[in-house]
Each structure stands twice: as C-alpha cells, then as structure tokens.
C-alpha cells in the first residue's frame, strides 16, 4: 500500500517534471530495465488522460447547458413544426419513393427507346437515309417549279432567252422584286420580264436559302417606276380552306391558277410554308399566292409530285422578315412596303387585271 503511493508519487513527479536531471535519467533507466514499472507509468498517464477528458466533457456540457438555457425552445419548435407542413412531411417521407418512381420511369423510358431502337445507330441511320431520300424526294417530287427553257425554246421579243425561269412579283413600285432562292441560285445574271415582254436586268440583293427567298433589285436604267402597288402583304397566318389564287409564268404568257389553303404546314411539317391545293407547273416558282381580298399570303415554291394537288408556298411573314433583314443603307432606293390594298373590293377578273402588271417572269442565265 505504502509502496503504491510511493510509486504514484514517483510517477507523478516524473510526469510533472519535478525531478532533476539525474533523477530523471535514473527513472528513464528504471523504466527501460523494468517493464512492470514502464507499464505502470503508461497506465497512470492514460488514467490522467481519462480524468482530463472527463473534465473536458463536463466543462463542455455545462457550457452547452447554459447556451441551451438561452434558447427559446418553444419558438424554435414552432418554427420547426411550421416548416414541416403536411406537404413537406409528405415529401420528406416519400422522397425515396419519389426518387425510385422517377428512376423507374426514366429506366422504363430509356428501355422503351432502346427496345424500339430509337437509340441504335442502325435506326438513326435509316432515319438519316430516309431523310436524305426525302431530301432527294423534295428535289424530285417537290421539283422546284423552274421552267427549263431548253425544253421549250420559244421566240421572245427581246430574244434574250434565259436558261431557267420562274416567276416573281414587285415588292415596291421602285424596283424591288421577290422570287425563290432556288430560281436564281447559281445565276450569272438575272432578268425580269413583264407581261408586255420588256426585260430588265436585276441584281440579287438578298438571299435566304433556308426560307427559299431571294430579293431582287433593279439594275436597269431603262426601268421606270411602276404605279402604286395594288396589293399588300398579310402578316397574320391564313386559315385553312381559304380560297387562294396565283399568277405566274409557267409559260410565256401569264397564267392564273385557283385553289384553296389545305394545310398550315408545308412539306414534311415545314412550319414556314402552307400547303395549297392549286394547279402549279414549272415556272410558277416565285409567284405570289393571294387571298380573296388580294393580299399576298405566300410565295409559291414547289409541289409534291407523288401527291395530287399539293403545292407549297412560303408564308408571307417570312418575306417581310427577309425584307427587314436587308440592311437598308445598302439599298439604292428605299424599300417601303405598301400598306394599302386597292383591289380588296374588286372582282377576281378585275384583281387579276390590276395584278398582272406587277408579276414578272424571272429569267436566269448561267
């Protein structure tokens, strides 16, 4: 008993560094040669650490207790229960279930897509080739209504025969015209010819291949301004079943064609175009599509060969959009669209009579 206390005394003196150098060296030596002493020292040190840890925790606890006392538990409780409204609790309760449900839904969707081959390269290839074929179809079946002059060589007053031809019409009375991009694509020079057979040279001043629109500006000094345009452009979308007509140059004489609006979208769901049930032929491309009141609602651009009576016309608001896109300061003359319609009340024959002076044959040389 006595020796135990002596031992503790010694160990404490050692640990608290109360020994002098010689005593310390002596104790270290004792520890080295006496493993029992050494383990006693280690044990005692651990014990003191336990007391220390005990004290630390006690202190922390009393600190926390005093912090806790400063809290307004009821208020916190209130705020906590308030935020956990029934929906939140429901959400929190079912978060995992929702996640699982969502995962299952996603997996099912992916599996379905995989199963139906939406993702497989093979399928996308067939889609692609189908699309390609369709593109070729468009070329073939929508075959841009350009008239090949070579096929029907005819004499012309000015005898400046173009290689290809289409139709176009005046945007303004001061020398701006619109036609299809595919009519003038790759052209060396472009001429317009009126119903009296006079030709004038024009420049392509703006093209929009995606909408198949080309805007032409007069380059010929012999051109005199046209009278005020009798028609206007319709900004809104026209309704299905609306009676429409077109005037164009599928041959050297101006030709009138009548039909109705059969769909609000063009070929393959093309939302920039209408489908029109109207007889059109090569050469009608670029001609105007007009409604009963003589408003221009579109620009004839092609037809589908395998389907009867399916022609397509670019919606008029895309023409207006193209006009807006032209940098005005690059123009010789101001490009102002008329806002007044002079032929709304006239009969169809009267309308056509007024109109035909503003419809031109587009002749393309390349």
């Amino acid at each position: 008993m006595e020796s135990e206390i002596e031992l503790i005394k010694k160990i404490e003196a050692y640990l608290f560094q109360e020994l002098n150098e010689k005593e310390r060296a002596d104790f270290d030596h004792q520890r080295n040669i006496n493993p029992i002493l050494d383990s006693k020292v280690v044990e005692h040190l651990a014990f003191l650490k336990t007391i220390e840890a005990y004290g630390e925790k006690k202190k922390l606890q009393s600190q926390m207790d005093s912090i806790h006392q400063s809290l307004d538990i009821n208020e916190i409780k209130h705020s906590v229960t308030e935020t956990s409204s029934s929906i939140i609790i429901f959400w929190n309760k079912n978060k995992k279930n929702f996640a699982i449900a969502a995962t299952v839904a996603i997996i099912t969707t992916l599996a379905t897509l995989l199963g139906t081959g939406q993702f497989s390269a093979k399928n996308s290839n067939t889609n692609y080739s189908a699309l390609k074929r369709d593109m070729e179809n468009i070329k073939k079946s929508q075959n841009a209504l350009i008239r090949g002059y070579d096929a029907t060589p005819e004499n012309n007053i000015n005898s400046n025969q173009g290689k290809y031809g289409g139709s176009g019409f005046a945007l303004t009375n001061n020398g701006y015209f619109v036609t299809n991009y595919h009519v003038v694509e790759g052209a060396d020079s472009v001429y317009i010819q009126n119903n009296k057979g006079q030709s004038f040279k024009v420049n392509i001043i703006y093209i929009d291949p995606s909408y198949d629109i080309a805007i032409l500006g007069i380059a010929d000094t012999t051109f005199t301004n046209l009278p005020t345009l009798p028609y206007t452009f319709k900004k809104s979308v026209s309704d299905l079943g609306e009676e429409v007509y077109t005037i164009g140059y599928p041959r050297d004489e101006v030709v009138y064609g009548k039909g109705y609006l059969s769909s609000a979208t063009g070929y393959n769901g093309d939302s920039t175009a209408y489908q029109v049930s109207i007889p059109v032929n090569p050469g009608n491309s670029g001609g105007p599509l007009l409604d009963n009141r003589g408003n221009i609602i579109g620009l004839i651009k092609g037809k589908q060969t395998q389907t009867d009576g399916a022609a397509f016309a670019i919606k008029s608001n895309y023409i207006l959009q193209s006009i807006e896109n032209i940098p005005q300061d690059s123009l010789k003359n101001k490009l102002n669209i008329t806002k007044q319609n002079n032929i709304a009340g006239l009969s169809r024959t009267q309308q056509i009579k007024k109109m035909e002076n503003f419809i031109f044959m587009i002749k393309v040389y390349n």
Partner: protein
Amino acid sequence: MNKNFKHIKLNDNEIVLGILNNSSSTLTYLYKLHFPMILQLIINNSGNDDDAKDIYQETIIVLHDKIKRGDFELNSKLKTFIYSVSRRLWLKKLSQKARFFGDINDYEDYVAVETDIELHEEKDKQFNLMNVSLAGLGEPCKTIIEDFYIKGLSMQDISEKFGYTNADNAKTQKYKCLQRLKKIFFTNNP
C-alpha cells in the same frame, strides 16, 4: 453578445478553428445554428425536447472530440455530420427504448458516422466510469482531484483552500486520493 452573433456568419472552417481553440463564442454559434434541425428530427420521430437536447449535446461532443483529435476533414459539411451523428444516436436510443419501428423521417442527407460513434461510445464508457468512481471517492478527495487534474489549480492553492498546513501535506493527500480513485476505477473496469 448573443444578439451580435446573429449577424456574424461563420463558415465550417472557422467553426472548426474556433472549436480547436476553445472559443466559447464559436461553440455558442455552432450550438444555436443547428439545434433547430435536430429538434425537428427528434420531435418528428417520437422524441421530445429533452431527448433533442441530450442527442444534440452528445452530437456536439462527438464533433468536438473529432475536431480535437485533428480528425475532422471537411469532406462533408458540418451540418451533414451533425445531422448524421444525431440521427444515428437517436436510432440507437429508439431501439433501446424498443419503440423503434424500422425507419425514421429524415430531413437532411446523412453520411456514415459509425466509426465516430464507436469511438464516442468507448469514450462515453470511460466518462461514465470516471463519473461513478469520483462520486464513490467522496469528499474532499473528489474536489482535490478535480481541482488539480481538471481545473489545474496549484498544490499551493489547494492546500490553502482545504486548510492544509503545507503543500506537501496536500500533495500526500492528493496521492492517496488518486490511488483510491484508481482502485475504484480499475475495479469497475477490469
């Protein structure tokens, strides 16, 4: 001082530093910051205010010890760690009380804290044992031990406080107390 604290925002790093340096204001900040979260967890999982307090304080101790060990890596947010520890502790308590039915309502994400809990439980055992041993030691030994080994009073102070004639007498008394404490402690903890 407490009111001022509402306007100060400490990030996780600053809190860890504060705890490491025994900052009581950081402890206050930390304590107030996350108590509502744990209160919500406990009272919505068949516990009451007191349970929340116990669980939360135990959690803070776990965090405190972890930081003091130099073991706290900020790979998870303090908030997540606190929530995870409280959650685990409460699950244990529920299963001990045998009113645990399998799952609890969660309000936050949680991470695995099993090793921290195990370390804590070991420490907690020692703490309780020490608590019992000191209680069994009786006065004045208990206070002498606490004053010297915990509060860090000098033997001089202690001998004056207890009316010993000199520090050496007090020292001898302290050794006797320590020896008895050891005996009680190790008898209970073989």
